[in-house]
Symmetry: D2
Subunit: 345 residues, 4 copies
């Protein structure tokens, strides 16, 4: 592994520490690697070492390259300095993707506490968006971020369908960054249709990092699940980015959105209610919709077949509804082709 330290901004003491693993050679089928960009916490007053290297190691183990951004803090943290640091770092990393053998479209940010605020800003409002974001006991609500950085913005209100997929975690009894920050962020992601995973552990102190005994004193009152976010976030990245295989990275199993309702054109991945609201789509689908009078075995809804504009049935994706009534895959594909010509307005 190569270690490289790049000074991004001498005046504000901004640097990027890069841990870059070999590709090819004995790692025969690993020709490029995905990466994580770590943003340590510290209330925008410092960058915590406890949320730097110890966080990098598990991702390195899983085949990722890892970079740690030490962004503007203290007097230099006046907004938008930290966000500019992030933009510069991400631009820089992507510019060297070929040389460093990285996938430029498989780079996640990981941020903690105030660094989690910065990571959430990257996810929701940056120009150089990450491809996924992991937010640890992150500050996201304006009222709380102002406690440590008065000029820093609220993030929750900025979440929209262009926000990247997020993995969030926190402890329920965190008194430094209350759980609202995480719960309201999940709510915003939900409304925007963005994919996410979220874990709120019963108890544990703010700033517990990986919960390993070498970073968080075993004397702390911290629940046994708190450290699970590490492995779970790696498994989640595997779902979102794909996994190593003898033939490059596999296809992701988890898309960026839960359905295609926010896409520019319609498709079978839109919900029935979205399609029901589009007259052009209904020209194609009306006969088909009449067939969707399934009998609701198992946990399936028994929709009012005349009206898919609301309720359980309305929330189903067309592809799932058609598969449920045994419409053949090739028919579904043909319908998809027709729908994809219709603008989603």
């Amino acid at each position: 592994m190569k270690k490289e330290k790049i000074v991004l901004n001498n005046e504000r003491n901004v640097s990027l520490t890069c841990y870059l693993q070999e590709t090819g050679g004995e790692f025969r089928y690993v020709t490029r690697r995905p990466a994580v960009l770590i943003l340590p916490g510290g209330g925008y007053q410092f960058c915590s070492d406890r949320e730097a290297d110890p966080v990098a190691f598990p991702y390195l183990r899983s085949g990722y390259d890892a970079m740690i951004l030490r962004y503007s803090v203290g007097e230099d943290s006046v907004w938008p300095n930290p966000l500019n640091d992030y933009e510069q770092a991400m631009r820089y990393i992507r510019s060297r993707a070929d040389e460093w053998k990285l996938y430029p479209d498989k780079i996640a940010v990981i941020g903690f506490s105030a660094g989690g605020h910065l990571a959430a800003c990257a996810a929701a409002m940056s120009e150089n968006r990450p491809n996924a974001a992991i937010l640890g006991y992150a500050v996201t609500a304006g009222s709380f971020i102002r406690e440590c950085c008065p000029s820093a913005p609220d993030v929750i209100s900025r979440v929209d369908e262009k926000t990247c997929p997020c993995f969030l975690f926190a402890t329920r009894n965190d008194s430094v960054v209350p759980i609202q920050n995480t719960v309201q962020m999940m709510e915003a992601l939900d409304k925007a249709g963005v994919s996410f995973e979220g874990h709120i552990y019963a108890y544990g102190p703010h700033g517990f990092s990986t919960a390993d005994t070498s970073v968080q004193s075993p004397d702390s009152a911290i629940c046994s699940r708190a450290g699970n976010w590490v492995g779970d976030s790696i498994a989640w990245l595997r779902d979102v980015f794909g996994d190593f295989s003898s033939d490059g990275m596999t296809q992701p199993r988890c898309g960026a959105h839960v359905n295609a309702d926010a896409d520019a054109f319609l498709s079978v991945y839109c919900t029935l209610s979205r399609l029901a609201g589009n007259p052009e789509a209904m020209k194609i689908l009306s006969t088909l919709f009449a067939q969707l009078k399934w009998n609701g075995g198992g946990t399936m809804p028994d929709p009012n077949a005349d009206n898919f504009s609301h309720g359980m049935a309305g929330r189903m994706k067309l592809c799932d509804a058609l598969a449920y009534v045994h419409v053949a895959p090739e028919v579904i594909e043909r319908i998809d082709g027709q729908l994809k010509k219709i603008p989603n307005i």
Copy 2:
């Protein structure tokens, strides 16, 4: 293990299946057992076998007794029949606690989907409250519960500080019971100061139960974390109920509330902001508060020492703040004694 089936209501076909393990004998130090009461899902139209026995087994393995309530469904599900079934079941179980060697104050409900709605009602509005509730892809919001049972009530609005600790889980892309049901329930628990743990897994179908291959087809698109709720909920119960030991159950490590701000009397477990708002408390604490000018190392706040009524410092519990500035345990205990005489108004 003894299996007992009790008919609670012949007309509405309500029954309780009980799996009761041995105590004493070779289980030398197990003189009583905690228990789980399982409420299967099924849209208040049926009680799913996939969310009955397969759910009981892991808790049985962990030393719990397990009961399955088959409550009023279909035409009989008109409210409050299901809740009455629950009340009757819990009353019945507790009435036999001595005979069955159960801890009457260590009984959790576990509900799924519509059964999760019933479990949430038990947690938030029943007369015979459970001591903890596990809510799996539960319906909690009125708009959604009406889709399957028009007469059933909203739960979220009923959550208050008397609601028992909850463990919640769901999958982010559940289109049958949207994630709002879980997220808004967490929000309500947060506001009420109630302890909880919550897991939202990236993807998986509604009704996945334990995610084991014998209950959920491995062909399903279901993320690798989805089954973790089983072991995690058992570890969480251990935190909330205590664990088996050679001397009865150990003390819980997780209380029912995150602080004592809703208790009848003050204590060192109240937050600084709560205490700062009580003039009688401030008579005792004003000198002490002046000492709390800590220097804010690590992730600790640097409070305005004149005003603990808001911000990070205000959210700290007095006991934590005092420990942080190295006040001796016996002094903390003495202060606690004084505070506990002051009504929390």
Copy 3:
């Protein structure tokens, strides 16, 4: 779940407790189930409840049916009574396989301590062989079994290629049943070419069962890995029996033997050394063997191409060696067809 208790032998107090789960119905694709037959320990003096129900639960959870055999103990334990009890139990279970919806060829025995001795006897010398055996801190060596049952036989010497696949575990510092019993059993299985998995945990008391706090006091000095055998043995059974799928059980990923050297006829699953020793096989393979002058990259051996009768190359299976030098699958299949006509003598 149905519970059934069957008395197998009234005089010797031998009984079979059966936990039988539903099939079909909501368990749509589960038309039959695999099963475990549990043989508790107790020095052939009693049958321990701590190694009965608590062991059944995790397998039940994983979709298995579970039976507990309480075999002849105390004065009745004179050999071959306990083995006869096993034979009767296994015959009985298989005779009801259709009625109980079991797979008669997917039944594992699980035995502990003296019950592990009985399970090992079942695996290595019974008439009604189990399809897999899980041996927990089992007594297998004659010198040790005589300490608790003077008439019971040594098992290690009876292991041959007809012994079923085994999963073994024990703790290194067990002073009641020393670790030789497990290590020598592994050695015997190795020599016989039988598949197995074995775990020797650093420390823990004899008789720790599942290591759960409700069966083994948390005050015990027991290492954190000791309870892993439960989940690992279930994953192993999945490898040996196959897993539930929407289309019956999947194909096993782990065969009963590591290669085909003990089969009645040759095949590409035999090792090169075995084939090299068979003149008829060499008529087919001599040209091919000349091609096997691979260059030994990675961890591959650089064999003496003239002689595959010993060394690393000799231990390879032909199918692996051919795949390694990129021989096409259809060629491998054709060779397999030819070899399967040659008796393995």
Copy 4:
């Protein structure tokens, strides 16, 4: 983290790559760190990168420093060159322990395949013994090591009570390094009374390293448990070295030997049979031994009280036997003091 590369032998191309983490500062209570010295495999022909950095990462994550020794290979591998490289490396590391903030007595070697042979030699026959050894699909038997390095010695025959505690793992169907190498090594450690933990996974290819998808192709036939050795070995090191705490490292929970039978002086940690064979010890213990007529509840043996020289009772440690019959701790301590004056001959 600091990376340092030290050339140990220019001619033979021997080097030590060191990954050294911070101590103190924000890692407040971590004043020193334990370490692992990694010996990659490669048949003494090369040092595999797949068993170098990817192995270091999980130990780094757990708070360990990590060094990778690239020892003499190819023509330079003639014995004892590789062992001399190890000796030089371990001497060098310990000489810088103060500067690097390492615990000089908490350094484990981890070796794979041929590197596992070297690690086993370090454990059993070096001058600068490691404090623990992790042996991955290691070659230990002379007949096998000669296949890749004709001059390298057998290790199994060299194991004695001075061998350090070992953690071993391998896959049952490894055809490159057959399982005898691991099983016979366990047997030797058992005979020598040395603590160990051993895992033989059902199937997986030789050289699977951490089993992560970035080092071992997911196309391989490798069982789900194979990667568990990583976390298990870290938990084991925690047992053998102690864990991080706010007050230095905790006391180990697992000693280097299973009992004190090989110590220079007697103690209550000797077995009853060892003590029974020492006339001077029996002067102290004879009255006490008469009390040891316990009734054998649970899994305890019912010893012949007149003779502890063999059988289950004889294998018990005196301290366990006395605790079992409720002899007071202070009495046990007094006896221990008396026994510790008697030479163990």
